[in-house]
Symmetry: D2
C-alpha cells in the first residue's frame, strides 16, 4: 500500500529563511515548490528543485497570488484572465528550475489565499485550471476534495488528486474545521500519525465532535514551517512505513 | 539576401503602456520580449507572444536585472550564481507564454544595464551564458560583436549572433559611440535605412568621424518606444525589401 | 463662490509615464498624489509635489493597496491593522516629498479598489480612518457622500469632505451609476461643465433616467489620464470661472 | 562616561522573521530601523518604532537601496538624484511610524551596499547627504570614520557621528579588515567587550597584526541577526556598565 506525502518548500526569499527544506526532502514524496509570486526567489527555487531531484521527490508548482508582502495569504480580487497568465508564468519559471536539475514540474497545487478562494470562487478556479491545461493537459493538480477547483480542473480535462490534511480536524461532513475554531489544528504527533494511517487504510477517523468520518485522499499534506512541524511530518512517515504503507509520489503512478 | 530585424517588445507593465507592440510586430522578424524582471507582466508577455506567433516573428527572451523601478537600466552588482538563476527563471517564464501561443523561445538577448555590463563584466557574462546553456544549449544568443558576453557564450557552446544598431553612430574601430556624445543617435529615417542596407551588403558605412567602417551583423536592432522610432523601423524594413533584402528571423536558418 | 477641483497625479512609475501632471496642475486646485504603493516612485512623487507647490495646488495623499502590478485596482482582503500601517507609511513618505517642496500633505484620499472597498467595508474603512487620525487628526479626508469611509472618518474625529464626479452619471438616489452600465461615463465637455456648475450652485442635475437629483459636494473630481480627459477638466474649470465660481482648494478654508 | 550602542532592527518582512528586535531593544540605545526598501514592511516598522519608543531607544532611519530580493546588499548604480528621492521617501515613511509611537526619527544610517558604496562613491554619498539635509538639517548621520559619506554630510552641514564595529577586526591604519579575510569577524564575547571598553576609554586595541591602534567612535555597532550575536551585544552592554560606562543614545546630547 502506498500514499503520497506533500509539503510546501522553497518559501525562503533572499536573505529571509523559512522552513527546513533539507529536512523535509528526506520525509515527503511531493514538494510543493513556491514559484516566486508569494515566496521563493530563483536561487531558492533552484536549490529546492535540485534537492527534490536528488531525493526522488516529485516537484510540484505551488502557484500563488503576486503578493510577497502578504505571503500570498490575502485574497486578491483579480481578473480571471490575468490570474491564468500569472499561473502560467509561475509554472514556466519553476519548470526552468526543475529542468536545470534534470527534472520537470510534475503537478500543480495552489497556495494560501488562492487555495482557499478557489474552494468556492468559480471564475478564479476556472482560471487556474485553464492555465494548467494550457501549459500541459497531462499535469495533475492537487486540491481539496469537493472544491470548485477540483471540479473545474476535471472539466478542463485534468487529472485531479484529492488531499487530506494530516494535522487538521474535520467536521462530521468531512470538511475542514476552520483554523480560528478551538481544536482545529492537531499537535500530538502520534495521534496525527494514527489518523493518517486510518485515512490511508480507508478507515474512519474521529471528527471534531467524535463522529466517525471517512476522509478519502491520495495525498496527505504535512507542514514544515517550524521544527515541531518537521518532527510531526517525520513521525507520520515513520509510522506509515512501520505499518507497511510506503510513502510514494502520487505522480509515480500512471505517468 | 536576408537580414533579421529585432526590437524590444512586451515592455508594458500593468496599467502602464510602453511601445507599440502591434505596429512593431508587422515590421520586425525577431521580438525581444521582456520577461517580467525589468518590465512586462504575465498578461503583457502572453499578448506579445501571441502576437509574435501570429505574425511569424521569432520570440526571444529579453532577460534583465530584477529592477522594475529602474527598468533594468541600472547596473546591479549581484552574485553571478544568482544572476544565472534569475536568467533561468525568466527564460522559463517566457517559455510558458510562448508555449500558450503554440510557439517557443527561440533565442536570448540581455536587456539594458545587463546588456551593457556584460560587454566587459566577465563573471556576469559567464553567468548569463551558463543560464542559457543550462536551459537549452541549442538556444542562440544575440549580442554586441566583440563583447565578453558573446565570447563567454561561445565558450559555453552557444550559437552567437552579432547585432548592429540601426540608429546608432559607430567609431572608426566599429564600436558604438556612447549615447552621451553628440551625434551618437541618428534620427533621419532614410539615412538610417541607407546605412542598414550598406551593412547588410557588407559595404562600409561612415563612422562618426567620416572614416568608412565595416559593421558585420546578422541582425539589426531597431527601436519602437516612440511613434518616431516605429516610423524609422518601418522605413528600414521597406527600403531593405525594396533593395531585394528580405527581413527574416536569424533563427529560421539552421534550426 | 468657490469650488475645489481634484485629480489624480504622480501616477507614473520609473520609465512608465501616465497622465499629464504638468497640464493638470494648471487646472486643478487639489492634487491626489500617489504614494508609491499602487503607483508613483519617489522621483515622480517629488516632481508632482514640487509642481503642486509651485502652482499653489493642495497636495493630498492618494493612498492605495500595495499592488503595482494591479495599479491598486484589485481589492485585497488584508488585515485592518496592516492596512492602517500601510496607509501611515504612505502618508509619511509623501509628506517628505511635500516637505522638500516647502509644502505639506493637506488631505488624504484613498485610491482605486481601496476607495471602492471602503464605501461599504467597515473594517477597512475604520483602518484607513485610524491611520489618518494617528498621523494627524487635523488632516481632512476626501470621499464619496454616504460612504462607510466618511462615516468612520467622522467617528475618528476627522473633517470629511464630500466629492462629486464631474464625468459620471448618477442614479435618482444620488449614487454613482456603475461603470459597466451604458451611459455611466459622460464624454461631452460642455455638458459635463454645465452639470458641474449646477452642482456647485446647489441646483439639481439629471440622473441617468432624467429625474432631477441634487448632488452636494465640496470638491469635484476630474480626470487627467488621457488627452481628452485633460481637455474636459480644462473646460470645466473655464466654464466655472466664466460663471463666477472660483476654483480653490477646499483645504484653503478653515486651516 | 557614556557610549551609544546601535544595531539594525525592523528587518523582518511579511511572513519572514529576521533578528530578535525584542531582545535587542533591551540592549542597544539606538535602533537603525529599516525603511521598507531593503527590508521591513509598514507593520514591522511600526512595531519596531513602538518598541524603541517604549524602551527609550533612539529611532534611526536605516535607508537602503530598493532591493528586497538582494536585502540591499548589492550595489545599484543609480542616478544620484533618484537616490536622493529614494532616501527622502524612506525617512518620511519611517517618520510616520515613529510619530505613531509618539517619537520621531533621530538620525540616519545607510544600510548594506549603500553604506559600503558611499565610503568612496562621491555622487551617491552627496546624494544621501542631500536627502538628509532636505528632510531636516538638524538630523545627525551615522557612518564610518574617514568615509566620503561623512565628509559630504559635513559639507551639507549635518552633524556626523563616527561609529566603530564591536565585532570586527581593524587594520593598523584603523580601517576595517574586509569580511572575506581570515580573522575579520570576532566571535569571543568577552574579547569583544574588552575591545569595546578600550575604544570607549580612548585606549588602543590590537589591530589584526597586533599593532596597537586607536579607534575613535561615538557609537558602537553591534549585531542582532543571530542568537549568538544578541548574546555578544548583551555581554558588551553589561561589561560596559560594569566598568562605569553608561550606554546612552548619542542623540541624547545636544538635541
Amino acid at each position: 500500500m502506498c500514499i503520497d506525502l506533500n509539503a510546501d518548500l522553497g518559501e525562503s526569499f533572499g536573505n529571509w529563511r523559512l522552513g527546513d527544506d533539507t529536512a523535509l526532502l528526506t520525509i515527503v514524496t511531493s514538494a510543493n515548490v513556491a514559484c516566486g509570486f508569494h515566496a521563493g526567489d530563483p536561487t531558492v527555487l533552484r536549490r529546492a528543485c535540485a534537492g527534490a531531484a536528488e531525493q526522488g521527490v516529485a516537484i510540484g508548482a505551488q502557484v500563488g497570488y503576486r503578493d510577497l508582502a502578504g505571503f500570498g495569504r490575502r485574497f486578491i480580487d483579480m481578473a480571471p484572465a490575468e490570474l491564468t497568465n500569472d499561473v502560467l508564468y509561475q509554472i514556466g519559471a519553476l519548470e526552468a528550475m526543475a529542468h536545470a536539475a534534470g527534472e520537470r514540474v510534475r503537478y500543480v497545487k495552489p497556495h494560501g489565499a488562492l487555495y482557499n478562494a478557489i474552494v468556492r470562487h468559480e471564475e478564479q478556479a476556472a482560471a487556474v485550471a485553464e492555465a494548467v491545461a494550457l501549459y500541459d493537459p497531462d499535469l495533475p493538480v492537487l486540491g481539496l476534495p469537493g472544491s470548485v477547483w477540483l471540479d473545474r480542473a476535471e472539466q478542463a480535462g485534468l487529472r485531479t488528486v484529492r488531499e487530506a490534511f494530516a494535522d487538521r480536524a474535520y467536521t462530521p461532513e468531512g470538511t475542514l474545521v476552520p483554523r480560528r475554531e478551538p481544536g482545529a489544528v492537531l499537535h500530538d504527533a502520534e495521534e496525527i500519525a494514527r489518523r493518517c494511517l486510518a485515512m490511508v487504510r480507508g478507515e474512519p477517523v474521529a471528527a471534531i465532535d467524535g463522529t466517525p468520518v471517512r476522509i478519502d485522499a491520495e495525498s496527505l499534506c504535512v507542514h514544515g514551517d517550524s521544527p515541531g512541524a518537521v518532527e510531526i511530518a517525520r513521525t507520520v512517515a515513520e509510522r506509515l512505513r512501520g505499518a507497511g504503507v510506503d510513502p510514494a509520489p502520487f505522480t509515480a503512478v500512471g505517468r
